[in-house]
Amino acid sequence: MPQPLDSELVARSLRGDERAFRELIERHHAIAYAAVRSILGSRDEVQDVMQLVYLKTYQGLAGFRGDARFSTWLYQIARREALDVSSKRRHEHADIDEMEIAAGPGSAPDTAVGERGMREWLDGALGELDEAYRTAIELRYMAEKSYEEIAAIMQLPVGTVKTYVHRGKIEMKRILSRPAWREAGR
Protein backbone atom coordinates (compact mmCIF):
# COMPACT_ATOMS: atom_id res chain seq x y z
CA MET A 1 0.00 0.00 0.00
CA PRO A 2 1.46 3.43 -0.92
CA GLN A 3 2.34 5.67 1.98
CA PRO A 4 0.03 8.66 2.48
CA LEU A 5 1.46 12.05 1.55
CA ASP A 6 2.41 14.48 4.30
CA SER A 7 -0.44 16.77 3.22
CA GLU A 8 -2.93 13.91 3.67
CA LEU A 9 -1.59 13.17 7.14
CA VAL A 10 -1.82 16.86 8.03
CA ALA A 11 -5.43 16.99 6.86
CA ARG A 12 -6.31 13.85 8.83
CA SER A 13 -4.54 15.24 11.92
CA LEU A 14 -6.61 18.40 11.64
CA ARG A 15 -9.73 16.27 11.68
CA GLY A 16 -8.58 14.87 15.03
CA ASP A 17 -6.88 11.67 13.80
CA GLU A 18 -4.13 11.25 16.41
CA ARG A 19 -2.66 8.22 14.64
CA ALA A 20 -2.11 10.31 11.50
CA PHE A 21 -0.27 12.92 13.56
CA ARG A 22 1.94 10.25 15.14
CA GLU A 23 2.73 8.81 11.71
CA LEU A 24 3.61 12.27 10.42
CA ILE A 25 5.93 12.92 13.36
CA GLU A 26 7.57 9.49 13.17
CA ARG A 27 8.30 10.13 9.51
CA HIS A 28 10.19 13.36 10.22
CA HIS A 29 11.28 12.79 13.80
CA ALA A 30 14.98 12.40 13.00
CA ILE A 31 15.05 15.87 11.38
CA ALA A 32 13.57 17.56 14.45
CA TYR A 33 15.83 15.59 16.77
CA ALA A 34 18.95 16.40 14.71
CA ALA A 35 17.98 20.10 14.64
CA VAL A 36 17.55 20.21 18.42
CA ARG A 37 20.73 18.25 19.09
CA SER A 38 22.72 20.50 16.76
CA ILE A 39 21.82 23.45 18.99
CA LEU A 40 21.61 21.93 22.48
CA GLY A 41 24.12 19.08 22.09
CA SER A 42 23.40 16.18 24.41
CA ARG A 43 22.07 18.33 27.25
CA ASP A 44 19.27 17.26 29.54
CA GLU A 45 16.88 19.81 28.02
CA VAL A 46 16.68 17.89 24.72
CA GLN A 47 13.86 15.66 26.03
CA ASP A 48 11.76 18.63 27.22
CA VAL A 49 12.41 20.64 24.07
CA MET A 50 11.42 17.73 21.83
CA GLN A 51 8.12 17.38 23.69
CA LEU A 52 7.52 21.09 23.35
CA VAL A 53 8.36 20.95 19.62
CA TYR A 54 5.74 18.27 18.97
CA LEU A 55 3.15 20.01 21.13
CA LYS A 56 3.68 23.27 19.22
CA THR A 57 3.66 21.38 15.93
CA TYR A 58 0.28 19.91 16.81
CA GLN A 59 -1.18 23.17 18.01
CA GLY A 60 0.12 25.08 15.00
CA LEU A 61 -0.78 22.44 12.44
CA ALA A 62 -3.67 24.49 11.08
CA GLY A 63 -1.19 27.25 10.27
CA PHE A 64 0.80 24.94 7.99
CA ARG A 65 -0.31 26.07 4.57
CA GLY A 66 1.65 23.57 2.52
CA ASP A 67 3.69 26.11 0.54
CA ALA A 68 6.84 24.59 2.09
CA ARG A 69 7.62 20.97 2.89
CA PHE A 70 6.35 19.71 6.23
CA SER A 71 9.94 18.68 7.07
CA THR A 72 11.13 22.28 6.55
CA TRP A 73 8.33 23.61 8.73
CA LEU A 74 9.03 21.09 11.49
CA TYR A 75 12.77 21.85 11.30
CA GLN A 76 12.05 25.55 11.78
CA ILE A 77 9.87 24.90 14.84
CA ALA A 78 12.52 22.59 16.34
CA ARG A 79 15.30 25.08 15.67
CA ARG A 80 13.31 28.00 17.12
CA GLU A 81 12.45 26.14 20.32
CA ALA A 82 16.02 24.90 20.80
CA LEU A 83 17.47 28.37 20.20
CA ASP A 84 14.97 29.79 22.66
CA VAL A 85 16.03 27.37 25.41
CA SER A 86 19.70 27.82 24.55
CA SER A 87 19.36 31.59 24.77
CA LYS A 88 17.48 31.45 28.10
CA ARG A 89 20.02 29.08 29.52
CA ARG A 90 22.88 31.28 28.34
CA HIS A 91 21.39 34.19 30.20
CA GLU A 92 20.78 32.16 33.35
CA HIS A 93 24.06 30.30 33.52
CA ALA A 94 26.46 32.30 31.41
CA ASP A 95 29.56 31.07 33.20
CA ILE A 96 28.66 27.39 33.13
CA ASP A 97 27.64 27.54 29.49
CA GLU A 98 30.85 29.21 28.50
CA MET A 99 32.75 26.33 30.02
CA GLU A 100 30.58 23.67 28.37
CA ILE A 101 30.50 25.12 24.90
CA ALA A 102 33.73 26.93 24.41
CA ALA A 103 36.34 24.95 26.25
CA GLY A 104 35.96 21.50 24.71
CA PRO A 105 38.38 18.77 25.47
CA GLY A 106 41.35 20.61 23.95
CA SER A 107 41.70 22.57 27.16
CA ALA A 108 40.18 20.00 29.52
CA PRO A 109 42.31 17.99 31.90
CA ASP A 110 43.47 14.70 30.44
CA THR A 111 41.85 12.66 33.23
CA ALA A 112 38.40 14.08 32.45
CA VAL A 113 38.90 13.55 28.74
CA GLY A 114 39.96 9.97 29.29
CA GLU A 115 36.56 9.11 30.76
CA ARG A 116 34.68 10.15 27.66
CA GLY A 117 33.23 7.53 25.42
CA MET A 118 33.24 7.67 21.64
CA ARG A 119 29.82 9.34 21.65
CA GLU A 120 30.86 12.19 23.89
CA TRP A 121 34.10 12.40 21.95
CA LEU A 122 32.16 13.15 18.77
CA ASP A 123 29.61 15.37 20.56
CA GLY A 124 32.45 17.49 21.92
CA ALA A 125 34.07 17.93 18.51
CA LEU A 126 30.72 18.74 16.90
CA GLY A 127 30.06 21.22 19.68
CA GLU A 128 33.07 23.24 18.61
CA LEU A 129 31.86 23.65 15.03
CA ASP A 130 29.94 26.61 13.63
CA GLU A 131 26.22 26.01 14.13
CA ALA A 132 25.53 25.82 10.38
CA TYR A 133 28.23 23.16 9.84
CA ARG A 134 26.99 21.20 12.84
CA THR A 135 23.35 21.31 11.71
CA ALA A 136 24.24 20.18 8.18
CA ILE A 137 26.32 17.30 9.57
CA GLU A 138 23.63 16.23 12.05
CA LEU A 139 20.96 16.26 9.33
CA ARG A 140 23.27 14.29 7.04
CA TYR A 141 24.24 11.59 9.54
CA MET A 142 21.80 11.61 12.44
CA ALA A 143 18.75 12.15 10.22
CA GLU A 144 20.30 10.33 7.23
CA LYS A 145 19.17 12.93 4.72
CA SER A 146 20.56 13.47 1.23
CA TYR A 147 22.22 16.77 0.35
CA GLU A 148 19.16 17.72 -1.71
CA GLU A 149 16.83 17.06 1.23
CA ILE A 150 19.07 19.02 3.62
CA ALA A 151 19.14 21.91 1.16
CA ALA A 152 15.33 21.95 1.09
CA ILE A 153 15.10 21.72 4.88
CA MET A 154 17.69 24.43 5.58
CA GLN A 155 16.56 26.48 2.57
CA LEU A 156 20.08 26.71 1.18
CA PRO A 157 21.64 25.78 -2.17
CA VAL A 158 22.85 22.16 -2.40
CA GLY A 159 26.44 23.34 -3.02
CA THR A 160 26.41 25.37 0.19
CA VAL A 161 25.21 22.36 2.20
CA LYS A 162 27.98 20.18 0.74
CA THR A 163 30.53 22.86 1.60
CA TYR A 164 29.19 23.04 5.19
CA VAL A 165 29.44 19.27 5.65
CA HIS A 166 32.90 18.98 4.11
CA ARG A 167 34.33 22.00 5.91
CA GLY A 168 32.76 20.75 9.13
CA LYS A 169 34.55 17.43 8.73
CA ILE A 170 37.87 19.12 8.01
CA GLU A 171 37.37 21.23 11.12
CA MET A 172 36.46 18.11 13.14
CA LYS A 173 39.62 16.39 11.95
CA ARG A 174 41.61 19.39 13.12
CA ILE A 175 39.87 19.34 16.53
CA LEU A 176 40.28 15.59 16.90
CA SER A 177 43.99 15.86 16.08
CA ARG A 178 44.62 17.72 19.34
CA PRO A 179 46.62 15.64 21.81
CA ALA A 180 43.77 15.44 24.36
CA TRP A 181 41.34 14.14 21.74
CA ARG A 182 43.84 11.61 20.46
CA GLU A 183 44.16 10.25 24.00
CA ALA A 184 40.40 10.03 24.35
CA GLY A 185 39.90 8.34 21.00
CA ARG A 186 42.13 5.42 21.87
Binding site: L14, G60, G63, M118, K173
Partner: protein
Protein backbone atom coordinates in the same frame (compact mmCIF):
# COMPACT_ATOMS: atom_id res chain seq x y z
CA UNK B 1 56.85 19.47 -10.28
CA UNK B 2 56.78 18.18 -6.72
CA UNK B 3 53.21 16.96 -6.05
CA UNK B 4 53.73 17.00 -2.27
CA UNK B 5 53.93 20.74 -1.68
CA UNK B 6 51.87 22.03 1.31
CA UNK B 7 49.52 23.75 -1.16
CA UNK B 8 48.94 20.51 -3.05
CA UNK B 9 48.36 18.51 0.13
CA UNK B 10 45.94 21.18 1.37
CA UNK B 11 44.02 21.01 -1.91
CA UNK B 12 43.87 17.22 -1.70
CA UNK B 13 42.78 17.32 1.95
CA UNK B 14 39.90 19.61 1.03
CA UNK B 15 38.70 16.91 -1.37
CA UNK B 16 39.07 14.00 1.07
CA UNK B 17 35.63 14.35 2.79
CA UNK B 18 33.89 14.12 -0.60
CA UNK B 19 36.28 11.33 -1.65
CA UNK B 20 35.35 9.26 1.42
CA UNK B 21 31.65 9.81 0.67
CA UNK B 22 32.21 8.71 -2.93
CA UNK B 23 31.01 12.08 -4.16
CA UNK B 24 33.95 13.24 -6.28
CA UNK B 25 33.97 13.48 -10.06
CA UNK B 26 36.00 10.75 -11.80
CA UNK B 27 38.89 13.11 -12.63
CA UNK B 28 39.23 14.43 -9.07
CA UNK B 29 38.92 10.94 -7.65
CA UNK B 30 41.82 9.72 -9.80
CA UNK B 31 43.84 12.77 -8.73
CA UNK B 32 43.26 12.01 -5.04
CA UNK B 33 44.08 8.30 -5.49
CA UNK B 34 47.35 9.11 -7.24
CA UNK B 35 48.34 11.68 -4.63
CA UNK B 36 47.47 9.53 -1.62
CA UNK B 37 49.39 6.57 -3.06
CA UNK B 38 52.61 8.54 -2.86
CA UNK B 39 51.97 10.88 0.14
CA UNK B 40 52.15 9.40 3.65
CA UNK B 41 50.73 12.54 5.30
CA UNK B 42 47.63 12.59 3.09
CA UNK B 43 47.26 8.83 3.52
CA UNK B 44 47.06 9.42 7.27
CA UNK B 45 44.50 12.19 6.71
CA UNK B 46 42.45 9.82 4.57
CA UNK B 47 42.50 7.22 7.35
CA UNK B 48 41.29 9.87 9.85
CA UNK B 49 38.47 11.00 7.54
CA UNK B 50 37.44 7.37 6.98
CA UNK B 51 37.31 6.74 10.75
CA UNK B 52 35.38 9.98 11.25
CA UNK B 53 32.90 8.96 8.54
CA UNK B 54 32.36 5.61 10.24
CA UNK B 55 31.73 7.29 13.61
CA UNK B 56 29.33 9.82 12.08
CA UNK B 57 27.37 7.10 10.28
CA UNK B 58 26.77 5.43 13.64
CA UNK B 59 25.02 8.59 14.92
CA UNK B 60 21.76 7.41 13.36
CA UNK B 61 21.44 4.90 16.19
CA UNK B 62 21.41 7.78 18.71
CA UNK B 63 17.98 8.97 17.60
CA UNK B 64 15.48 7.72 20.20
CA UNK B 65 11.98 6.64 19.11
CA UNK B 66 9.61 9.50 18.40
CA UNK B 67 6.98 8.01 20.71
CA UNK B 68 9.08 9.07 23.71
CA UNK B 69 8.52 12.72 22.85
CA UNK B 70 4.99 12.90 21.50
CA UNK B 71 2.91 14.35 24.33
CA UNK B 72 -0.57 13.18 25.25
CA UNK B 73 -2.51 15.09 22.64
CA UNK B 74 -5.84 14.43 24.27
CA UNK B 75 -5.02 17.16 26.78
CA UNK B 76 -3.53 19.57 24.23
CA UNK B 77 -5.67 22.29 22.64
CA UNK B 78 -6.74 20.93 19.26
CA UNK B 79 -5.53 22.67 16.10
CA UNK B 80 -8.28 24.69 14.48
CA UNK B 81 -8.63 25.72 10.85
CA UNK B 82 -10.89 28.62 11.81
CA UNK B 83 -8.39 30.01 14.31
CA UNK B 84 -5.54 29.67 11.84
CA UNK B 85 -7.48 31.39 9.08
CA UNK B 86 -8.70 34.26 11.24
CA UNK B 87 -5.18 35.52 11.77
CA UNK B 88 -4.21 35.82 8.10
CA UNK B 89 -7.45 37.76 7.43
CA UNK B 90 -6.57 40.26 10.18
CA UNK B 91 -2.99 40.49 8.92
CA UNK B 92 -4.27 41.00 5.36
CA UNK B 93 -6.58 43.79 6.55
CA UNK B 94 -3.74 45.53 8.41
CA UNK B 95 -1.48 45.14 5.39
CA UNK B 96 -4.14 46.68 3.16
CA UNK B 97 -4.55 49.65 5.51
CA UNK B 98 -0.81 50.31 5.65
CA UNK B 99 -0.11 49.75 1.96
CA UNK B 100 0.49 52.79 -0.28
CA UNK B 101 -2.99 52.60 -1.91
CA UNK B 102 -4.56 52.04 1.56
CA UNK B 103 -2.92 55.10 3.07
CA UNK B 104 -3.74 57.14 -0.08
CA UNK B 105 -7.43 56.20 0.11
CA UNK B 106 -7.60 57.12 3.81
CA UNK B 107 -5.97 60.51 3.10
CA UNK B 108 -8.27 61.22 0.11
CA UNK B 109 -11.38 60.33 2.15
CA UNK B 110 -10.29 62.52 5.06
CA UNK B 111 -9.37 65.43 2.77
CA UNK B 112 -12.69 65.15 0.95
CA UNK B 113 -14.62 65.14 4.26
CA UNK B 114 -12.67 68.14 5.48
CA UNK B 115 -13.09 70.16 2.26
CA UNK B 116 -16.81 69.37 1.96
CA UNK B 117 -17.46 70.53 5.52
CA UNK B 118 -15.25 73.66 5.49
CA UNK B 119 -15.10 74.79 1.88
CA UNK B 120 -14.83 78.49 2.68
CA UNK B 121 -12.44 78.47 5.62
CA UNK B 122 -9.58 76.20 4.57
CA UNK B 123 -7.42 79.16 3.54
CA UNK B 124 -7.59 80.69 7.03
CA UNK B 125 -5.80 77.74 8.58
CA UNK B 126 -2.53 78.60 6.86
CA UNK B 127 -2.37 81.99 8.58
CA UNK B 128 -2.58 80.56 12.15
CA UNK B 129 0.18 79.46 14.54
CA UNK B 130 0.96 75.74 14.85
CA UNK B 131 -0.89 75.38 18.17
CA UNK B 132 -3.92 77.22 16.86
CA UNK B 133 -3.82 75.17 13.72
CA UNK B 134 -3.68 71.84 15.63
CA UNK B 135 -6.43 72.94 17.96
CA UNK B 136 -8.59 74.17 15.08
CA UNK B 137 -8.03 71.03 13.02
CA UNK B 138 -9.01 68.81 15.97
CA UNK B 139 -12.03 70.97 16.65
CA UNK B 140 -13.10 70.95 13.04
CA UNK B 141 -12.57 67.21 12.63
CA UNK B 142 -14.94 66.63 15.54
CA UNK B 143 -17.23 69.22 13.96
CA UNK B 144 -17.02 67.33 10.69
CA UNK B 145 -17.96 64.10 12.44
CA UNK B 146 -20.99 65.79 14.03
CA UNK B 147 -21.93 67.17 10.63
CA UNK B 148 -21.56 63.86 8.81
CA UNK B 149 -23.47 61.97 11.53
CA UNK B 150 -26.37 64.40 11.17
CA UNK B 151 -26.50 64.94 14.94
CA UNK B 152 -27.48 61.34 15.71
CA UNK B 153 -25.57 60.37 18.91
CA UNK B 154 -25.35 56.64 18.01
CA UNK B 155 -23.94 57.36 14.55
CA UNK B 156 -21.53 59.86 16.09
CA UNK B 157 -20.36 57.32 18.72
CA UNK B 158 -19.91 54.67 16.03
CA UNK B 159 -17.86 57.10 13.94
CA UNK B 160 -15.63 57.97 16.92
CA UNK B 161 -15.04 54.25 17.59
CA UNK B 162 -14.31 53.61 13.91
CA UNK B 163 -11.90 56.54 13.83
CA UNK B 164 -10.13 55.37 16.99
CA UNK B 165 -9.81 51.83 15.61
CA UNK B 166 -8.52 53.14 12.29
CA UNK B 167 -5.90 55.33 13.96
CA UNK B 168 -4.81 52.62 16.45
CA UNK B 169 -4.82 49.87 13.81
CA UNK B 170 -2.90 51.92 11.25
CA UNK B 171 -0.37 53.15 13.81
CA UNK B 172 0.16 49.64 15.19
CA UNK B 173 0.46 48.06 11.77
CA UNK B 174 2.81 50.76 10.48
CA UNK B 175 4.97 50.35 13.61
CA UNK B 176 5.04 46.56 13.18
CA UNK B 177 5.95 46.89 9.53
CA UNK B 178 8.69 49.37 10.41
CA UNK B 179 10.11 47.06 13.12
CA UNK B 180 10.01 44.05 10.78
CA UNK B 181 11.79 45.92 7.97
CA UNK B 182 14.46 47.50 10.17
Amino acid sequence: MNPHTPENCERIEAMLPAFVEGGLAAGDEALVRAHVASCASCRESLATFSALEESLVSRRSEVPPAAAFIPALATAPAPSRARAQARPRLVAALRAITSVPGVSIILVVWSAMFLLRFRGTVGEIFTWTTLERLSAITHRISGALVGVSGGDPYTLAAMYVALALLVLGSTGAITLRFIRNS
